[in-house]
């Protein structure tokens, strides 16, 4: 009987395919148990996967959106590029060739580094106005954004000699018939002029200075 070698091997193998080798350790029942376990394993709901992914996304997005977490301050920083001002203006002339060796290339500035001057003025002016409030007097004319510090005027107070008098001393003096002098009472930097008529109110107030 003539036949192909491949067919010979195929037929021989098919004859034994429904039996296990004698030396085999294959346990059919155990494998079926494992298959059953996997088949009847409850499927995890969709939210089991969606929730952690969404949480991760929220964390990443919030980290990018909230700059405080990254330690980035909102204080405006004025970046002035000197080379911007020095940028030469090249006039094109007819029939004039530019010497490529001596010609200086203008610096290429990145878009990110440019800050509009209008924006700068606004920011610096707001800082300057805060400083004027502190000194007690407002400066009406806000200075130029880049040189505002030199123009801020601080009021110099004249030296005043105070005499400290105890409240009890004043009350004793009140009994004596003498004409009350006009005096000034200063409350925490605010100056009020007190007269004889509201004298009683004044002495009831603690921590006062009488001039």
């Amino acid at each position: 009987m003539e036949q192909n070698i491949d067919e010979f091997f195929k037929r021989k193998i098919e004859n034994i395919q429904d039996t296990l080798p004698e030396t085999s350790t294959f346990d059919e029942a155990a494998l079926w148990g494992n298959i059953q376990q996997d088949l009847h394993k409850p499927k995890r709901p969709i939210w089991y996967w969606i929730v952690p992914v969404a949480a991760c996304l929220v964390a990443v997005v919030s980290w990018w959106i909230l700059p405080e977490r990254r330690g980035v301050s909102h204080t405006p920083v004025a970046i002035v590029h000197e080379k911007m001002a020095e940028k030469p203006v090249i006039f094109k002339e007819k029939n004039k060739k530019v010497d490529s060796k001596n010609h200086k290339k203008t610096p290429i500035l990145k878009k990110k580094q440019l800050i509009t001057p209008q924006r700068l003025d606004f920011q610096v002016a707001s800082i300057a106005s805060k400083n004027t409030e502190f000194s007690g007097k407002k400066i009406n004319n806000l200075p130029d954004s880049l040189s505002f510090q030199s123009n801020i005027a601080f009021e110099k107070k004249p030296k005043v000699n105070f005499k400290t008098v105890h409240i009890n001393e004043i009350s004793k003096q009140g009994d004596m018939p003498f004409q009350q002098p006009r005096f000034k009472v200063q409350f925490a930097g605010t100056l009020f002029e007190k007269t004889e008529s509201n004298y009683k109110e004044t002495i009831q107030t603690p921590s006062i200075r009488i001039q």
Binding site: N4, I5, I13, I16, D18, L31, I35
Partner: protein, 184 residues
């Protein structure tokens, strides 16, 4: 039970029918997996994955007359085995110039040769030769199909098959079966 009924019950995930299908094909499929991966433990793992895939994708079975389940199950198992082989990065020995010999036509049948011995001979083949021999000679794939499945060239596939046949012939001769005088 007719195969149509069997498929219908499988689609309903009937556990009794699943067990019946498992019992019918488990040994056959185990032999198949061992022929590819040689190690029984690996074969068991592949068998389990294959059956799980089969039971889960049973909806895709198209009834094409009797004996529709086995080819589908076999296909799943072979794919599982090939995936495992690809992960191990099967080494293929390529011989560029090879005279492709036709399989011998006057091969005498030795019915007394033990089938287990033949099976053991196939298992002894190197990985690359064994895989191509299994796919070509036993499963009946063509060289272009094998090349596509294993991501090798057709020539490499032919080379592997040629070498596998040579080794098998030599092994049979060692055992006293002188059949392949014309096959070199």
């Amino acid at each position: 039970m007719l195969e149509t009924q069997l498929i219908a019950e499988l689609k309903k995930q009937n556990p009794f029918v699943q067990k019946r299908v498992y019992d019918t094909f488990v040994k056959r499929m185990f032999r198949l997996c061992v022929r590819y991966v040689r190690v029984e433990e690996d074969a068991q793992e592949l068998l389990m994955n294959g059956f799980l895939k089969f039971f889960r994708s049973v909806d895709k079975i198209e009834y094409r007359g009797e004996n529709s389940i086995e080819p589908y199950l076999k296909k799943i198992m072979v794919n599982e085995c090939l995936m495992a082989i690809r992960q191990k990065q099967l080494s293929m020995i390529s011989i560029d110039e090879i005279i492709e010999n036709e399989p011998i036509k006057d091969f005498p049948t030795y019915e007394n040769i033990d089938e287990e011995e033949i099976y053991a001979l196939i298992l002894k083949l190197p990985d690359g030769y064994r895989t191509v021999f299994n796919l070509f000679a036993i499963e009946g794939f063509s060289h272009p199909e094998i090349a596509a499945k294993l991501k090798i060239s057709e020539n490499t596939s032919k080379t592997q098959l040629h070498k596998a046949r040579q080794i098998l012939q030599a092994e049979l001769q060692k055992r006293g079966y002188d059949y392949g005088a014309k096959y070199r």
